[in-house]
């Protein structure tokens, strides 16, 4: 007996989507739920949690904890805001580098295009930590950059480049560049040249053509790239650990510390929830503005 077509399609769909759904439910939703629950519990003495409701983990961060142990400290907000700032700067730098580069690559002959894409993904073949140590060799006082600048006579004594926000931003931008390049490239690659020609034909100069045609049409790639650079930059702890040291402390380092050294799992979980809330907040802004511009487009010109 054969099922009617819609029924068969449902079976096909569940076979195709089932494994991915199951995987995400078990390995993504469940840990997330555990973290969310833990963030409202009291810490155990040697890690772990005590099953007792406690909202002061958030109070320590946001300012209503006046208890003897759980003190509000503005440093958490400071670190948090710094992390957002560094992540946004990283996004901006990646975008400024990738957008023109993607334009250039997309106009190359096919074989060169593929070669360039290969070059962009080449860093993935080496270990992240090794690549960051290479940056230490470049940035440290006796490193490549300082030696070169002193040899050229530009500076007399080594610049302090290590353990600065600049070093962290360079490291983050370096790591996440490919994540920005690929979506931006994909949207530029499929941009029909005839739109640019039409704009030019209709009297739009280069700037107007870019601002009114090219930018709006490649916006999905820009937004996509920005999101997938912003999210891991915000929570990153390897780069600030290696290139920022004790001077440039990011929220990722703080979470790592709470879980591994301070043994305060609930507080670490609360910090992690803050990161996630921030990311969701930015995504929400994007979704709302997208829906609004769609609606505006339908209503007026």
């Amino acid at each position: 007996m054969r099922l009617p077509l819609p029924g068969r399609r449902n079976i096909h769909l569940s076979i195709l989507l089932g494994p991915a759904t199951l995987f995400l439910a078990v390995f993504f939703i469940t840990p997330l739920a555990i973290m969310a629950v833990y963030s409202f519990l009291e810490p155990g003495l040697y890690g772990g949690v005590v099953w007792h409701f406690d909202h002061l983990n958030y109070g320590r961060i946001l300012g209503w904890a006046e208890g003897e142990v759980e003190q509000f400290d503005p440093v958490y907000i400071e670190v948090f805001l710094r992390s957002v700032r560094l992540a946004l700067t990283t996004v901006a730098i990646c975008l400024l580098i990738c957008y023109p580069a993607a334009f250039w690559v997309s106009r190359l002959p096919a074989k060169w295009k593929n070669f360039c894409i290969f070059l962009i993904t080449l860093p993935f073949f080496a270990s992240l930590v090794v690549r960051l140590f290479a940056w230490i060799l470049i940035l440290r006082p006796t490193g490549f950059l300082n030696t070169l600048l002193m040899y050229l006579g530009v500076i007399n004594e080594p610049l302090d480049m290590m353990f600065t926000e600049g070093a962290v931003i360079v490291g983050l931008a370096y790591i996440f560049l490919p994540f920005m390049f690929l979506p931006v490239y994909a949207s530029i690659e499929k941009l029909d040249m005839s739109y640019i020609e039409a704009s030019s034909d209709l009297g739009g100069n280069r700037f107007q053509t870019f601002w009114r045609i090219v930018l709006p049409l490649t916006l999905p790639g820009i937004v996509g790239g920005s999101i997938i650079v912003f999210i891991p930059s915000l929570g990153n702890f390897v780069v600030p650990e290696l290139l920022g040291g004790a001077h440039v402390y990011m929220i990722g380092n703080m979470i790592e510390q709470q879980f591994l050294y301070a043994r305060n799992w609930p507080f670490g979980a609360a910090l992690a929830m803050m990161v996630m809330a921030t990311v969701l907040f930015f995504l929400l802004i994007y979704a709302v503005s997208l829906a609004r511009s769609e609606a505006e487009g339908m209503v007026r010109g």
């Binding site: 030019s200 034909d201 739009g204 100069n205």
Partner: protein
């Protein structure tokens, strides 16, 4: 009305050449020392097979391509070095190239927006342009919410709203179905009359070219092979290429002989003879090619109307008869084995439909019907 160039033409193209490099590393002459002029308020069609250079010529007018050699003047102004956005020219693109993120209003008003036209004037002109193309009230839609024909109209409105002095159209009707295409052909011609500007229209569809144009420019291999009014090009093609490309054709190659009374006879290698009127002296024995359009052949039913010497005859065997509505298309075999095509009207609905496959058919044609065309050399 407009400042004319020294040559007195609105558009003047002189000795234009353009060479492209092919991906295989060869070079391809898209334009080969081509000269052409377009007058004020003229509808000129560039007609030719794909790769003949017609689109390249259009793009050099709009400024999207630059010439390797030669010059283009529009309204008396030399166009070299002037970018597309500063030329008094707009284009209707083959793919329409409507901006997908803008509404119909946004698309149509684009050229006004980039030149900073005031909002009230902008909206008024958009409304006028949309009314001209019959799309009033559609301004808030996005291009993807429109049918192919409506998109085509938006592209047209967008191109004419800036009052260009010259409108370029790159196969704008190619994507439309037959009925819509014919409607748009007439509308385009009307709009051109209304605006009073020159149109340069690119197509590979000879029917389109014949319907709309004041003049047709037939192109092949980057060169112009014939320029003329539609009837000139259709009735007196200069070459076999034009005869084949514009309309249906029966071509006969052979040698000429005088038979007196201003008539000559062409005898093919297969033994058919074509009788035609030729006022100029044709030396006996000269090789020539004669063209007879299929609709100039009539079924011979016994007696010719009028003087018998005014008619020529062709005998053949019927291979296939196809009813086209207005006419029957008869495909016949000539005794020499070549095929002959005829469009025959059967008003009484009895003479043609009775003919059976394999039946002998005799056609007659007025001696004014065949014309001599240049014999093609090479393929």
């Amino acid at each position: 009305m407009t400042a004319q160039s020294h040559s007195g033409h609105f558009v003047d193209i002189r000795n234009a050449s353009k060479v492209f490099a092919t991906p295989e590393g060869k070079s391809f002459k898209a334009l080969d020392d081509l000269s052409l002029h377009v007058s004020d308020n003229e509808f000129v069609t560039l007609l030719g097979p794909s790769g003949c250079g017609k689109t390249t010529l259009l793009r050099t007018l709009s400024g999207l391509e630059t010439l390797d050699q030669g010059e283009i003047r529009i309204d008396g102004r030399e166009m070299a070095g002037i970018p597309p956005h500063r030329r008094p020219v707009n284009t209707v693109f083959q793919s329409y190239a409507l901006f997908p993120h803008l509404t119909v209003d946004g698309n149509v008003g684009y050229s006004l927006d980039v030149s900073g036209v005031k909002r009230t004037e902008r909206n008024r002109r958009i409304a006028d342009a949309l009314e001209l193309v019959g799309l009033s009230g559609m301004g808030r839609r996005k291009p993807r919410q429109l049918s192919g024909g409506q998109q085509q109209r938006v592209a047209l409105a967008r191109a004419i709203i800036g009052n260009p002095k010259l409108l370029l159209l790159d196969e704008p009707l190619a994507a439309l179905d037959r009925g819509l295409r014919q409607t748009m052909q007439i509308e385009l011609k009307n709009i051109q009359n209304e605006l009073g500007i020159s149109f340069v229209f690119v197509t590979h569809d000879q029917e389109e070219a014949l319907t709309m144009s004041d003049r047709i420019v037939v192109m092949n291999g980057g060169r112009i092979v014939q320029i003329g009014t539609p009837s000139e090009v259709y009735d007196h093609p200069h070459s076999e290429f034009v005869a084949r490309f514009v309309g249906e054709s029966n071509l006969f190659a052979g040698s000429l002989a005088q038979i007196g009374d201003g008539l000559v006879e062409l005898t093919t290698g297969h033994g058919e003879t074509i009788r035609l009127r030729q006022d100029a002296d044709a030396p006996a024995g000269e090789q020539a090619t004669a063209l007879i359009r299929p609709e100039r052949l009539y079924l011979h039913d016994g007696d010719e109307p009028g003087d018998a010497s005014e008619w020529g005859r062709l005998s053949a065997t019927l291979r296939q008869s196809v009813f086209l509505g207005t006419d029957y298309q008869l495909i016949c075999d000539l005794p020499g084995g070549r095929s002959l095509k005829a469009f025959v009207r059967d008003t009484g609905r009895d003479s043609v439909s009775r003919l059976e496959r394999g039946a002998p058919v005799t056609f007659r044609y007025p001696v004014s019907a065949p014309v001599l065309v240049d014999t093609e050399t090479g393929p």
